[in-house]
Amino acid sequence: MHLTAFAVSTQLARLNWIDILVIAIYFAIVVFIGFYLRGSSNTSEEFFMAGREMTAWIAGLSFVSANLGSLELMGWAGSTYQYGILAMHWYWIGAIPAMLFLGIVMMPFYYISKTHSVPGYLKLRYGDGARALSAVSFAFMTILMSGINMYSMAIVMKVVLGWDLNFSIWVSSITVAVYVALGGLKSAIYNEVLQFILIWTGALLVPILGLIEVGGWSNLRQQIATNLGRSDYVHLWSTLGHFSDNPMGVNWFGIVFGLGFVVSFGYWTTDFLVVQRVLSADSIRSARMAPIIGAAFKMAVPFIVILPGLLALAVLPFHLVAQDVAVQTGQHSFNEVLPLMLVRYCGPGLLGMGVTALIAGFMSGMAGNVSAFSTVWTYDIYGAFLNKKATDRHYVAMGRWSTLIGVLISVGTAYLVQHAASIMDYVQELFSFFIAPLFGTVILGMLWKRATKEAGFWGLLAGTVTSISLWLWVRHDPSALRYVAMSPDAKHMAENIYRAFWAWIVCVLVTVVVSYMTTARPVAELEGLVYGASVLPKEHDDHWYQRPIVWASIVALIFVFLNIVFW
């Protein structure tokens, strides 16, 4: 049967049997891996932590892939069309320094504490209060994000291929549920590595052929300037002097300190969705190298996400519009820019691989969310507060069931969003409520012996309440943005990064003040948890070039060089 039998009214492209074969091969391998690994996830250490036997390369690629969801791929390509090359900041300064910091500074503490999760580390450092707050907020938001991602992918598949929403949602989510519930984190990680390779092989032709069509990077810049009548779409830093000088309505302070420090460090060093991948490493050296390897690949991702958005500005014969306008007028929205470019350059077979790349992106994002949810639910909520003395086998069974239930709640969220689309506008922001203050709590806990149990809880709570309050203030009175982002010219993106910045500041201040008002734990109790109170295991590298710091320095130099090139 021709798959486009699922088609609805209008659609961008039709898949033929070659494309369907390409997609079917992918699904067959993914499910096979789940069944194959079923036998090697019998204990909780195997199911939730992949047996802590992943090499640096596997953990590193999985670390990046779990973040490379469909919303990430299509959303940032769309943002590039909307705001220009400034979107690249979310891949470079908004990721690379934090990933390197995780590998060099923070990973040893996560690893030697033998924690199973970030809330688990908070339990060891601050006690049950901070753990419960962070575990509940993480579990709730993770599963919500998973549903939002699912709905986003289903919408694109409907627009591009005419696939029915129910078909996309159920086939993808059942597949993810099968391979994660069977093989646990190891199955999710194996598939994430495959999905990472697929995303690259499926999407790489678009920028290559696009650059050939426009005649290279210089011609692309000229073409964009001609089409838009402005040149600020292709500069990374030179337009960030003031909020009104660039299409995004941000300034350099917000990008460097709000995005580059708070948001980025919050996400890449404390979001358990990504940190879990690194915790599965087979040694402390692998755990330190994994984020560095991930950073190197993350730095290259703009080639398949940002560049297609810029190419669309130069070559598409029509103009893309915002999602709400697209719904009313029948035009294509910003978010469809990546599928539009795929259809432009890819014929049968290649189009199937490109669509598979989008599906793979969605599945890696969802598997990441669901496996992290399952771990936090089982270890930090169920095992910590509801049933503390169950057997290891019972917790593994709970992990499998919570995976399935997590997928079902995600599906429910996807349908909820279908009837209340405005939720989608807010969910990214809702997620950021918890991440920025969490970074303040974790980093003080790791680097400052004086931080106390009470301070950890109240600092985290104060930071979260600050973030939510600022968000409500701007929703209630949009002109308040001038105070939150410190400029009347600030736009939506500036609000997000400044709100995170203030939340982090409040979290740190409250943690410090409360720490001095309460009794610190004896230093002996902080062994393995805090810098200055822990003896880190010696790493023996045969050669100087095997040291993580050497590779981190190389990645950092390339990062600086690229920022100067695209200044």
């Binding site: 070659i18 074969l21 390409v22 091969i25 992918y26 391998i29 891996i33 194959y36 036997e53 992943m54 090499t55 596997i58 194996y190 590595v193 495959l194 390779i197 697929l198 092989t201 032709l205 052929l209 050939i212 069509e213 259809v343 432009r344 350059y345 890819c346 014929g347 049968p348 077979g349 290649l350 691989m353």
Partner: protein, 75 residues
């Protein structure tokens, strides 16, 4: 003793399968031109891209093929 599959072997199989399918499609299109060809169809991207994937996939499939191991799993 057990035989184990490396993740890189899976990657090799996937790339090899995709390479063969896409390269074959590109060659077939030489004699059966598309009714609505994509932009830059004259570059025959499916042929060279598919061939590159197949070569890379073949390398990984052979290099990481399953071997008999004793109590040690190769990833």
């Amino acid at each position: 003793m057990r035989e184990s599959f490396s993740i890189w072997w899976f990657a090799g199989i996937l790339l090899l399968a995709y390479g063969v399918v896409i390269c074959s499609t590109g060659i077939w299109e030489l004699s059966h031109p598309l009714a609505n060809p994509p932009v830059l169809n004259n570059l025959h991207a499916p042929i060279w891209w598919g061939a590159m994937l197949a070569v890379a996939g073949l390398g990984y499939t052979i290099g990481f093929r399953p071997r008999q191991t004793v109590n040690k799993r190769r990833k």
